[in-house]
Symmetry: C2
Subunit: 213 residues, 2 copies
């Protein structure tokens, strides 16, 4: 759990948590209020005591989920960042959207949502990118890393489990980590053709599971 065990979550927080997981798994627009509330152990009628509309839930969801993602990349060493990237581009993350990053799942829903949702999304994403830019050196280096990671997970989830999915994840991981290691001003060497193995770690960099909680 992310919070002290003593913390008794409020109902609203529980809805956000459970509905968020379900929305990332099944899609937000395609999942009814009924199902979203049932995930939190409630019925649809109670929903509107917490949110004015389904769209407002999406906004709250996006804000909360992006804060989570931001925390996952708030690391204090290059090795830790590489471990987080490895976890992001792992089969586990691909296979468990419930516990994963909101960007691959919810971005296309946000693209079709109202301006309030989009603003919330823009703010949250900007914070993620700016934080990443502190380690990567610049926003211009951070954006491609984010785009690559989000694109890779999006594509990997649509592919059946198999060789193509693995090649995709491995080569994108190697590319992103190589770009990260590149000295400021130049660009990253792709590292040698990535076989099953991972980008040769400078330090053994232990793998941490991406999924929260």
């Amino acid at each position: 759990m992310r919070y002290p065990a003593s913390h008794k979550t409020t109902t609203r927080e529980r809805i956000l948590d459970e509905a968020g997981q379900l929305a990332k798994e099944r899609g937000f627009a395609t999942t009814g209020v009924d199902a979203l509330m049932a995930a939190a152990g409630l019925t649809a009628g109670a929903f509107y005591a917490h949110f004015a509309s389904k769209s407002e839930l999406l906004s709250a969801l996006v804000e909360r989920e992006l804060k989570r993602s931001q925390r996952m990349f708030a690391v204090d060493s290059d090795a830790a960042l590489e471990a987080a990237i490895g976890a992001y581009l792992s089969p586990q993350h691909v296979e468990r959207p419930r516990k994963g990053c909101p960007l691959p799942t919810l971005s296309s829903e946000v693209a079709r949502a109202d301006d309030t949702v989009r603003s919330t999304y823009a703010r949250g994403l900007a914070e993620v990118v700016q934080q990443l830019a502190q380690r990567a050196g610049s926003e211009e280096k951070a954006w491609p890393m984010v785009a690559q990671a989000v694109g890779a997970v999006t594509l990997a989830r649509a592919l059946p489990a198999g060789r193509a999915r693995k090649t995709l994840l491995d080569s994108v991981r190697d590319q992103v980590i190589a770009a990260l290691r590149q000295p400021e001003g130049e660009t990253a060497p792709p590292t040698s053709p990535s076989r099953p193995g991972r980008a040769s770690p400078r330090k053994p960099s232990r793998l941490r599971s991406h999924p929260n909680s």
Copy 2:
């Protein structure tokens, strides 16, 4: 138009074309058979004379759309490929999903679809990547390019038009083109910090609009 003007499209082709545009714009799952058929000038009842189910339509759609995308990247020079990449990562492509690549829009729908759809998607995507690998040098270089481009368009569509969106598109374009120019075995230099301008072209490389037709 993609086909000789004399070509009179069959009804099925017209459905695939118009429904495809609508699905990319509004989402496949969230758009009813009624609306998809209306786009082709027909009513919902006629749908099942052409497809056994809505899911079968998605499969046919994915196959057709990915073939289109493949054609867009079937180029015979590096300059032409760079132009195609520039068009893919352009504001026009971001703003007109109807006419654009199916990967940013439909991948998350495919991820939740049945095995038939996913197989079709896997085949189509593999062909795109393999073709790209012929110019990029290897699959391991092609996958990150595709992931990056798809991720960038996905994120850009969720962001409001503005500075962040532009920085995203510009820096990803520079990064992808730099990676492409990198000699085999090494990795791409990110090019100097990309201001409003584009990656300095070796040749003036005229910009072609990505959207088909």
